[in-house]
């Protein structure tokens, strides 16, 4: 037992407890206060309608932050300055968010903002995402923000309305799953490979009902961008959220950002954030250990993110209805290798992998090389800020000279609802987060991979282990 009178708490419990407006009872869930609600055009219109129907106003517009990312074109405006949406409905949805935000006084980073971006890229870049916060969004990849030690999770549109109207949610306390990742990553292995490996290890429903806390030496050594990739895909094993305790890496990332605490408030904030760690001996409902030194570049071979393997492995020959159906859709055979399969499209982007480190890794591999004939490559930066930084470093020219397309920021081909989609039957190596059937277009076969594996596959036109093209010096 610790000498303190307080029982040992996990990071999750500390953040949860700070936000309890009313404790859970036998008859009612807890009322949990939400510090920040992120909004985008797809999952908010019906919530604003509901408020209107009831004659309610947004309780704390300054605790909301909106952007447009899902339905937006990633092609530049034409010579008349007109943006060409995929459908009139897509434009109407974006226009409606602008109207709703203006009516309720919610800050919106729209077309005219230099900070517009994918909601989970923009929030951290602005410094809106901070340790110890509760953050929600009508988007399952909200777990991304847990990289900062925030409790961040995706909600449905009805709950978006609850938060708009009351700044609160009704919540039952989830369980905790500790995932300890230790060891040094091999060359060519990234946070994306780590999280794909984790999902493969615990399964696509291995985190259901839980909040994951990632810890261990591998996580400590990761940049903020890598930690965001790690937390981003927590939902792909069913978890509500993923969290990493804040440390010097976190504070260095946040210092000086537009919405970060400034002046005297900065030191006070950091002092507080330093307490947001799990106490020694804190209890987790479950614990999983991962040896990171053994992780290889990973790719998915099936139709959910748990159907994953090392890129050079043979496709598992376990016979089950699910595997048979997945392989039939993927037009692949059990026991065969995926490496070497012809690649039609490469997509580098999404809230999982569209940040500077992702783009730098892909560009380093594609520099002075050409995209293979017959392969189309889309590179879509996560935000306007990332785009500017990448262009200042000349990354756009590396991609363009290689024969890739350099697009404007947005969710793009991750879910293909803006018109950026592949053709039926295409094999797409994608740095996004879901390889569900039809996710990137009807009949499209998605292989999830890291930016390095995607870039290597772009150059060879085949599913390729990035190590084959890297000068590792080892």
């Amino acid at each position: 037992m610790s000498e303190s009178s307080q029982p040992a708490s996990t990071l999750f419990e500390k953040v949860w407890q700070r936000h309890v407006v009313r404790e859970e009872t036998a008859a009612t869930p807890a009322i949990l206060y939400i510090d920040l609600q992120l909004l985008h055009e797809v999952t908010s219109p019906q919530a604003f309608d509901e408020l209107k129907r009831r004659g309610l106003k947004v309780r704390r517009p300054e605790c909301c932050l909106a952007t447009i990312d899902h339905s937006t074109p990633t092609t530049p405006p034409d010579s008349q300055g007109v943006r060409h949406y995929n459908t009139p409905e897509a434009k109407a949805q974006v226009d409606l968010l602008q109207v709703n935000c203006a009516a309720q006084g919610i800050p919106l980073h729209g077309w005219d903002s230099p900070n517009r971006g994918i909601v989970h890229v923009m929030g951290p870049e602005l410094g809106a995402t901070q340790p110890g916060m509760t953050i929600v969004c009508g988007d399952s990849h909200t777990a991304t923000h847990g990289a900062f030690g925030a409790l961040a999770f995706g909600i449905g549109t009805t709950e978006v309305g609850h938060v708009l109207a009351t700044q609160c949610l009704l919540q039952s306390k989830p369980e905790t799953l500790g995932i300890r990742i230790d060891g040094e990553l091999q060359p060519g292995v990234t946070a994306k490979d780590v999280i794909l490996h984790v999902i493969g290890a615990i399964g696509v429903d291995g985190g259901t009902g839980s909040v994951i806390e990632y810890h261990g030496s591998t996580v400590r050594a990761m940049s903020m961008e890598s930690r965001m990739t790690l937390c981003n895909m927590s939902i792909e094993c069913g978890a509500r959220a993923g969290m990493v305790a804040p440390d010097e890496t976190t504070f260095a990332y946040l210092e000086g950002r537009l919405m970060s605490p400034q002046g005297e408030k900065w030191a006070a904030a950091v002092a507080d954030w330093k307490t947001l760690v799990s106490d020694p001996g804190a209890h987790y409902d479950r614990l999983v250990r991962i040896d990171a030194s053994r992780i290889e570049p990973n790719v998915t071979w099936g139709t959910n993110p748990g159907m994953v393997m090392a890129v050079d492995d043979a496709i598992p020959s376990t016979d089950s209805p699910a595997n048979r159906e997945a392989l039939e859709y993927m037009q692949l055979e059990a026991g065969a290798r995926l490496a070497g399969e012809k690649v039609d499209v490469v997509f580098i982007g999404s809230c999982t992998n569209s940040r500077m480190t992702d783009l730098r890794e892909a560009a380093a591999l594609m520099k002075n090389r050409r995209v293979a004939a017959g392969t189309r490559v889309l590179v879509v930066p996560g935000s306007e800020a990332t785009r500017r930084e990448a262009e200042a470093e000349g990354l756009d020219r590396i991609f363009l000279q290689a024969g890739a397309e350099w697009r404007e920021p947005g969710c793009s081909m991750c879910l293909a609802m803006n018109g950026d989609s592949a053709n039926p039957g295409d094999l797409v190596v994608s740095t996004s987060n879901r390889n569900f059937k039809g996710r990137q277009g009807r009949g499209v076969r998605t292989v999830l991979a890291s930016p390095l594996t995607a870039a290597a596959s772009a150059v060879t036109g085949r599913v390729t282990n990035p190590r084959e093209l890297m000068e590792t010096g080892t």
């Binding site: 008859a27 019906q46 009805t158 009351t166 700044q167 429903d205």
Partner: protein, 192 residues
């Protein structure tokens, strides 16, 4: 769901594990700003081919909306995207409840907010129902009881608050709004 909180129905089987919300309603239909009329897009890619023509044979073809309002699906139903369009589409398509051995968290929460009842059962009960298509079941929300004809009664987990809201048609937002003074007190305490 009726005011009595009891639903008598036949089941419709989709014995597939990990049905994600992209399957329930594909992303291309999410540009809507309404919540009504989404049943036409429910399991769209399963029902229609690339040209929008109905497939000659598909699992949903046998679905009888008046008779079968309980969907029996494989494990981990509703995984993936948080889109509430998924329960909206299922309800509009004709389902009032879904039986599965496991539900994804966000789907479960979204379903309960819309009166679509997620009924979690053991693998054994799920296997029985998968083996007996178009089976007669009764779901009693007030007592958390699922009666499977020829198999008996089983309890299913449903928190009392959700059961209360579902059977009385009470709205969770109204409940939150009634706690306004607690919320204000919390905000004042932290100096927000």
């Amino acid at each position: 769901m009726s005011q009595t909180g009891v639903l008598d129905s036949r089941t419709f089987n989709l014995p597939v594990d990990n049905i994600d919300t992209d399957q329930i309603i594909p992303g291309q239909f999410l540009t809507t700003t309404e919540r009504d009329g989404l049943g036409q897009f429910c399991f769209y890619s399963w029902r229609f081919d690339e040209n929008g023509s109905e497939r000659a044979s598909h699992a949903l073809k046998a679905f009888n909306p008046g008779r079968q309002s309980v969907l029996v699906a494989g494990s981990n139903f509703g995984c993936g995207s948080s889109r509430e369009h998924a329960p909206w589409a299922l309800l509009d398509f004709g389902f009032k409840a879904v039986i599965s051995s496991r539900f994804a968290d966000i789907f479960r929460s979204n379903a309960l907010k819309n009166g679509l009842l997620p009924v979690k059962v053991s693998e054994e009960v799920a296997a029985f129902l998968h083996a007996h298509p178009d089976h007669s079941v009764q779901i009693d929300i007030g007592n958390n009881l699922l009666t499977v004809e020829g198999h008996g009664k089983v309890e299913f987990p449903l928190d009392p608050f959700s059961a209360y809201c579902l059977t009385r048609g009470i709205d969770q937002l109204e409940f939150l709004l009634k706690n306004e003074s607690d919320i204000s007190r919390f905000e004042n305490r932290r100096g927000a």
